[in-house]
């Protein structure tokens, strides 16, 4: 795939996985409904969420235009429900601790450098802070003991999971989502079940 012929948005502009929701089994319907209509968790503060939203826009600028979930609420729910209690590789802190402390460190670093909260910085300054994390591992007076690169990789991988758990993003990539209870009948080359995305024009490639 080259830049010249790569689609800028999606091969499936009219596909909508969520239109099939009533066909799914009840357990899956419930899980997806709670994600799409996520409630506030009780761990992240309003400041955490503002910083998180600003960071998300820096990390996934184009994705967010196609996104329908509230990333901050879903992440807050996941932390509240103790889904982030493991350690990432090469870490001695839980994902939960890394993310919460990292959000606070980000805010502190922003105020230290620019005298403004992170979400109020212009985009270039936000990106400049994040780029520096990769090079110098963050200001050691702030990023200690949790290092900035650990925060960056932990937060990014958790956000990737949430983004690709969004039915709207499934639609943009043509993933048919929950397949139960119907399963796949049309299976071979150029065969598609009616509830999958319609095949796009192969001339696009």
């Amino acid at each position: 795939m080259t830049k010249q012929n790569h689609p800028s948005k999606t091969y499936y502009p009219t596909y909508d996985v969520i239109s099939q929701k009533n066909e799914w089994d009840e357990a899956t319907q419930s899980v997806i409904f709670e994600r799409v209509h996520s409630k506030e968790g009780n761990v992240l503060s309003a400041t955490h969420k503002r910083t998180l939203q600003a960071l998300s826009k820096c990390l996934f600028p184009s994705h967010l235009g196609e996104h329908t979930l509230s990333i901050s609420m879903v992440l807050d729910q996941r932390i509240t429900n103790k889904k982030l209690s493991t350690f990432p590789r090469e870490a001695r802190f839980t994902k939960e601790d890394i993310i919460i402390q990292g959000l606070e460190n980000t805010e502190q670093e922003s105020i230290h450098q620019y005298h403004l909260p992170f979400f109020q910085l212009d985009k270039n300054d936000q990106l400049s802070i994040m780029e520096a994390w990769k090079e110098i591992d963050g200001d050691p007076r702030i990023w200690n003991p949790i290092k900035s690169h650990l925060f960056h990789s932990t937060l990014t991988s958790e956000l990737i999971k949430i983004i690709y758990a969004d039915p709207h993003i499934w639609s943009t990539i043509g993933f048919a989502g929950p397949a139960y209870p119907r399963g796949y009948y049309a299976f071979g080359p150029h065969q598609f079940d009616e509830w999958e995305a319609k095949p796009h024009d192969e001339n696009l490639l």
């Binding site: 590789r89 299976f187 150029h190």
Partner: protein, 529 residues
């Protein structure tokens, strides 16, 4: 603290523990089976959703270090009754005869104290019990044979492309032997090709401990205690294991048992032995060899993705549907040892996007989005590569404590040069297969799967932890079953061997426990007289 007693207390209700529990209960023994996670009903508690079903992974803190630190969350873990055999892809293969003798055959690793012939009767038994589906003629008979259920008829586009590439490259290929129903069995229905095998299989077409050994065991009288975290094995002055201490609902409990069986996979089993150190066993229980936790093993499980002009849609059908074993011992031809297998491997979006980022930390934002927009045009295949046992790959106890005040395990792992040679060769072969199928290979995504070792078996108490039956050399009423006892990490998926060796151990443990009970009864009688 509440106290109770039984004949056999088993810690861990996964593939190994559930087999042992069911067998011993059916043999008339009083069995308690503990598991740290919940007992789930696939129809009620599973969803067709990747994020939700992360709840099947082990979610307690573990430190992962070394030159090649392992991901200890996903493909190397399981929490809940059924363990990691609930979220596996269910490709079940026997090990090759040479897998048990790598030191003799290729001067690397170590020989097992048993041979293929010792395990073969159990492979046959488990092939039937687990209702394996497979082809009428399997090109590599030592890896599997006489499958009771027919091969799955429908193959996904992803698999067809893989087979096309193999065919053109001159490799033999076959549909995979799978513990997934291809025809009805009792109340269970055959697979409907949803693709969510690694999310637990809500329709219950995949055979797991939850629909086999757990219900069998419960029917035979097993006392299953879920969400119970074992934290210590106690011993007496005679050096026998006496009880299992565990926490349930925040309260401490104790189960005294004639025989204790640890079936808690490759991290929690050595962790529990090390954490049970005492005056009599200062280096940890059953650790006179110093090898508890050592020689931890995994399999490399790299993927190569190619883009195709037509739509493939790899989300359809179970992820692993076809394989070749022609490369299993290919190292001999290329100057390294051992080898790898290859299979088709359909990835769902979260797994794929996560692998992209793990392999390329710049793959966020627009780069990730561009790659994922092509999701339906990818063919994904994977290798499963042998990893050579090394003493320094180990589970130890860290100085950090978990929520119960127990030491958090530390896992240190680095690859052997031979592992890297296998990985490079597999990458080249996978790329050539995909090119032969008409694709353009784009991404090599490194990953790994399965854990083994940490309590290796052997004939000698100085160079192993347990016998081939899992009996610890140091404490004769303490057993370890499951993948921790493995000496090497063959390329074939390990679960059929886990089930089979567990059955072999169960028969031995039955005899051992009955004799021990008789001896205890006789001693009691003598005292009374």
């Amino acid at each position: 603290m509440t106290r109770t007693s039984c004949d056999v207390c088993i810690v861990g209700a996964g593939a190994a523990g559930s087999v042992v529990a069911a067998h011993l209960a059916k043999a008339g023994l009083n069995v308690f089976l503990l598991d740290a996670g919940p007992l789930r009903d696939p129809q009620q508690d599973f969803a067709s959703d990747e994020l939700e079903m992360e709840k099947l992974f082990w979610d307690e803190p573990r430190i992962s270090e070394g030159q090649d630190p392992l991901d200890l969350y996903r493909s190397t873990s399981g929490k809940g009754v059924g363990g990691s055999a609930v979220h596996y892809t269910a490709q079940l293969l026997r090990f090759h005869p040479t897998d048990f003798q790598t030191k003799t055959s290729e001067q690397i690793g170590e020989d097992w104290p048993i041979s293929y012939q010792d395990v073969e009767p159990y492979y046959k038994q488990m092939t039937k019990t687990l209702c394996l589906s497979g082809p009428s003629t399997f090109p590599w008979k030592k890896f599997g044979n006489h499958f009771p259920y027919p091969a799955h008829h429908d193959l996904s586009n992803n698999t067809l492309k893989f087979r096309e590439g193999l065919e053109r490259a001159g490799y033999q290929h076959s549909v995979s032997p799978l513990a997934i129903l291809s025809a009805p069995k009792g109340d269970r229905h055959p697979c409907i090709n949803r693709g969510f095998c690694e999310e637990g299989c809500m329709p219950d077409a995949k055979t797991t401990p939850l629909n086999t050994f757990i219900p069998e065991g419960l029917k035979a009288g097993v006392t299953l205690i879920s969400e119970a975290t074992a934290y210590r094995i106690t011993t007496n002055e005679e050096g026998k294991a006496t009880s299992v201490l565990y926490i349930l609902d925040g309260k401490h409990h104790e189960i005294e048992a004639t025989t204790i069986v640890l079936a808690a996979y490759a991290i929690e089993t050595p962790r529990l032995l090390l954490a049970s150190a005492s005056e009599s066993f200062p280096n940890g229980l059953a650790n006179s060899s110093g090898l508890v936790g050592k020689y931890l093993l995994t399999n490399m499980n790299d993927h190569v993705l190619a883009i195709f002009p037509e739509e493939i849609r790899m989300y359809r059908g179970n992820p692993v549907q076809a394989l070749t074993l022609d490369t299993y011992l290919c190292g001999r031809n290329y100057g390294f040892k051992r080898g790898f297998l290859m299979n088709s491997y359909g990835l769902r979006p979260i797994r794929l996007a996560t692998l992209f980022f793990e392999n390329d930390t710049e793959c966020v934002g627009e780069r990730l989005r561009e790659r994922m927009l092509d999701y339906n045009h990818y063919v994904s295949i994977a290798m499963l590569g042998e990893v050579i046992p090394q003493h320094h790959n180990a589970v130890t106890l860290s100085d950090q404590k978990d929520k119960y005040g127990c030491p958090i395990p530390k896992v240190t792992f680095s690859h052997h040069q031979n592992d890297e040679s296998i990985r490079e060769k597999a990458k080249d072969v996978m790329k050539s297969v995909l090119k032969n199928a008409g694709g353009t290979p784009l991404y090599h995504l490194k990953a790994h799967a399965h854990l083994m070792g940490g309590c290796r078996m052997g004939n000698n108490s100085t160079n192993s932890v347990v016998t081939s039956y899992g009996q610890t050399h140091d404490v004769d009423n303490l057993f370890v079953v499951g993948s921790p006892t493995f000496v090497t990490a063959p390329s074939a998926n390990p679960t059929l061997t886990v089930y089979s060796l567990a059955q072999r151990s169960a028969e031995y443990i039955e005899t051992y426990t009955k004799q021990a009970k008789e001896k205890n009864d006789s001693n009691q009688q003598s005292k009374m007289n």
